[in-house]
Symmetry: C2
């Protein structure tokens, strides 16, 4: 795999100088074209020490307009980072559409170094590579261009380099005992590298192996590879646009309403809910207070144990999400609790993968966070209103399950609520809102429009629960025609989850 | 994940009968449309015992025109199957374009049952699921429609079913002690199932969870799901066709020749070969005989150890592949040796994934097989001549590495040769062929046409070796200007590989 990167290729000073000005102009023009494009460029550098990873990044920063370039390198995770799932820091740093992101010692660092130095075994390495594959697939599916460089030096070349550095008094300090230890592990490192490259080189995220010995040669390869990849991707995305337009046309010809079939009248998850459940008004207050007391006590334990809680609320319009959330949070310590409402994404958020804004708001350890609406918008409103393509919402079930698995694997206590009301009850509440002055602001034209698509939303909710209610992250369906009942069920469910988590944690 | 499949949904006899005729006609029409399409439909059934896997397959065979349907179920591997890599049997059975393939107890069987019954651990299961993901991805990338059904029964429903069968003297025999043992493992089975479904449910190969208790209900779900998926895929493929047409247009506008850049004149893998090497004509015969003797002896050992050998030959036109192959095989026992030449694929082969024809010719254990040309056609002739799209040949490096890894993991001794001659030497040989009567048939118009694309072929070969010469399956570059030298190098390399394999095997 590395034969071609050990040919001793060099580029003369004259040849480089002759080609440089035109290429430099091309790179800047490319960046201007990219600024208009609807995808980011993610460039990953990995490889052998001394093969020019840092130098290549420096060069790119010099040749490109650095205002539209993000450069990131990762060290040991900070406190902030350790308190979130492992990939939080990579998600946080992703470049928005139209920009370059240059990554040094990226997500590849841990599996590669871990395996090469015998800290993890093959199975663990493969698990981590699996994670990488899913991560890159998710980004590529969303249109990101991913270009990966493996900067290579032969064992001999690496030794010469270290010796040369040692000889010169001016650079001697750059070689420590670690460098020679690493050099002795060369063969193991290269073996781990080949396995990594084979596993993670995909059509949408290929590795480019670059001979790193000669600075001019490797610079020219890195620059022209990026140039060609961006140009190809610009073309491919333009062609895809046509496909989407054709798809849209086909969809426009179809009836908006889902066809009623013989299966439509059978029970569904939603239709199986007993929507008549209610609490006796006399009892309701007492039970609610009880549960709120229970929650307060549990919150102290949660904090003491450094546990993180994420409660996600989705529901029909006017189902009482806001009220339920208020009853929940007012029983918690405000300084450790945060409610994050999600409406239409900001322009900054629109320039990223749709999951980005939810990664963004993951809290530090010991906190309770409530998401008022969430990533499920992708398979609800975005699906029904056609804000994303069929392919996009269909594959997002997997992306969501994968995301939630990462949350839970990190130890986050995740609870998900769907608050449901009947169509009649919704109408009653809408009318109430029209009639009562201080409630009127809550009702918009959009609510009425959504109501017209009631059946489509129901279908989307049923499918959402079917596909994303897992042992890892189950949905709790809340029958919310009776507000008191719904509020008690929400708080009691949160309490149960916290109790289980505390019990598990103190084991 | 299985909540929606435990709602107790039933379809009445009347409703089913009312919907059936129209649906039946739809299915047949669909099949007619599919026959013209350029993709196969792969339907996988898995799930809980008694949830209707077999019945669904029977129904599909009844409702569809069975001439265009392949049905497969897998038991313990046969001798024939055990002597090939694990997935050989699945590749062999893939339906061609335009047809349905129905798979029972498919590639999911081993990881699922293995994990549920504690025969394999989580790491092993994940490794096997990883294999499945790559397999399905490869097929889907090639356009296959993959529909997967998980037929579900609740624990309670499964118990009722077994009890009911036991009660009736006519069906009592169908319940064995195994069935109750399985039932007791229900929870573990479902846990393994959820993990499997989450890991392997992809946008291009989603799982559909079906409540299996009521036969009419589950039949209707299975049939309509397949109908809708095929219709959607027909539409999507039609839209993709437009994209490809646009891509082709863009490519047509580009100059056919790769642009010469400042990097073009630097050494490459091919240009670094010392093309002047030759054997002294006096020595050559002796050395060749020596190596052939060595090979004969090794072949006996190979046979005794049940080892399988696959030698792959690629090379420039007129580089002497045929001659080298003849010198090699004539030193082997003919009954255990087979040469398979690959030219343009047959119509049957064209209706399958491009790797299918190579899977097909993998031999049983103890044999030596020589492939005269191979799967590398994808990144050589198909790339250069534009027989496949850019995306197709780019992603095939991974597919090829993955394929070869499976061969080597199975214990096959794989050697790959590139026979190289210089452009001048080729011209000399072409002219020779024109001049000598009994050689004239070897030279075609196509050879001259290929020669015009010499530079493009060189670029393709260099990239091929860069991307597919791995520790697992390295390329051997053969300097073939001197025929004697090339023949000796080929045979000696095969001998070295066999020696190493025998040594490893007898350890």
């Amino acid at each position: 795999m590395f034969e071609a990167a050990e040919l001793g290729r060099k580029l003369s000073k004259e040849d480089f100088a002759a080609a440089a000005p035109a290429l430099r102009a091309e790179m800047l023009n490319l960046q201007i074209k990219l600024r208009e494009a609807n995808f980011p460029v993610i460039v990953v550098f990995a490889g052998v020490d001394g093969a020019g990873k840092n130098e290549s990044v420096n060069l790119l920063n010099e040749w490109l307009d650095p205002r539209w370039v993000v450069t990131r390198a990762y060290d040991k995770p900070s406190d902030e980072e350790r308190e979130r799932p492992e990939y939080w820091r990579y998600w946080r740093d992703l470049p928005p559409k139209g920009r370059f992101g240059l990554f040094l010692s990226s997500w590849y660092h841990t599996p590669l170094i871990g395996k090469a130095f015998g800290k993890i075994d093959q199975a663990q390495m493969d698990k981590e590579l699996e994670h990488i594959i899913r991560f890159e697939q998710t980004l590529a599916d969303d249109g990101a261009l991913i270009v990966k460089f493996w900067m290579h030096l032969s064992k001999k070349a690496q030794r010469s380099r270290l010796r040369k550095l040692e000889k010169d008094p001016a650079t001697k300090w750059r070689v420590g005992p670690d460098d020679w230890t690493h050099w002795k592990q060369y063969d193991k490192f290269v073996q781990a590298a080949e396995h990594t490259i084979m596993r993670t080189s995909k059509g949408h995220a290929p590795w480019n192996i670059v001979e790193g010995e000669d600075a001019r040669y490797r610079s020219m390869v890195v620059l022209t590879t990026i140039r060609d990849a961006v140009n190809r991707h610009l073309e491919a995305r333009a062609a895809q646009k046509e496909t989407l337009a054709i798809e849209k046309e086909i969809r426009a010809k179809k009836p908006a309403q889902a066809k009623k079939t013989v299966l439509s009248k059978l029970p569904t998850i939603l239709s199986s809910l007993d929507m008549t459940v209610k609490l006796d008004p006399k009892e309701a207050g007492v039970v609610l207070q009880e549960q709120r007391g229970r929650l307060s006590q549990l919150h102290r334990k949660i904090k003491d144990n450094g546990l993180t809680v994420l409660a996600v609320f989705e529901g029909s319009d006017a189902a009482g999400k806001g009220g339920a959330i208020r009853r929940l949070t007012s029983a918690l310590f405000a300084r450790d609790t945060q409610v994050v409402p999600f409406a239409a994404p900001s322009s900054e958020e629109r320039a990223q993968h749709y999951l980005w804004r939810f990664w963004r708001y993951l809290s530090r350890a010991g906190k309770v966070t409530v998401f008022d609406r969430s990533w499920y918008g992708r398979v609800l409103v975005e699906r029904v209103e056609g804000f994303c393509t069929d392919d996009e919402w269909r594959r997002s079930y997997d992306e969501i399950n994968d995301f939630e698995e990462q949350l839970v694997a990190h130890g986050i206590v995740l609870v998900k609520f769907w608050l449901h009301i009947t169509k009649d009850e919704q109408l009653r509440r809408f009318k109430d809102r029209e009639d009562i002055d201080y409630k009127r602001w809550k009702l918009t034209e959009e609510d009425w429009r959504n109501r017209e698509k009631w059946d489509e939303y129901e279908q989307a909710v049923n499918e959402m629960v079917e596909r994303t209610s897992t042992l890892t992250a189950p949905w709790t369906m809340v029958e919310a025609n009776d507000k008191a009942y719904a509020r008690v069920k929400v708080i009691a469910t949160v309490c149960d989850a916290l109790e289980a988590a505390v019990k598990k944690h103190s084991k």
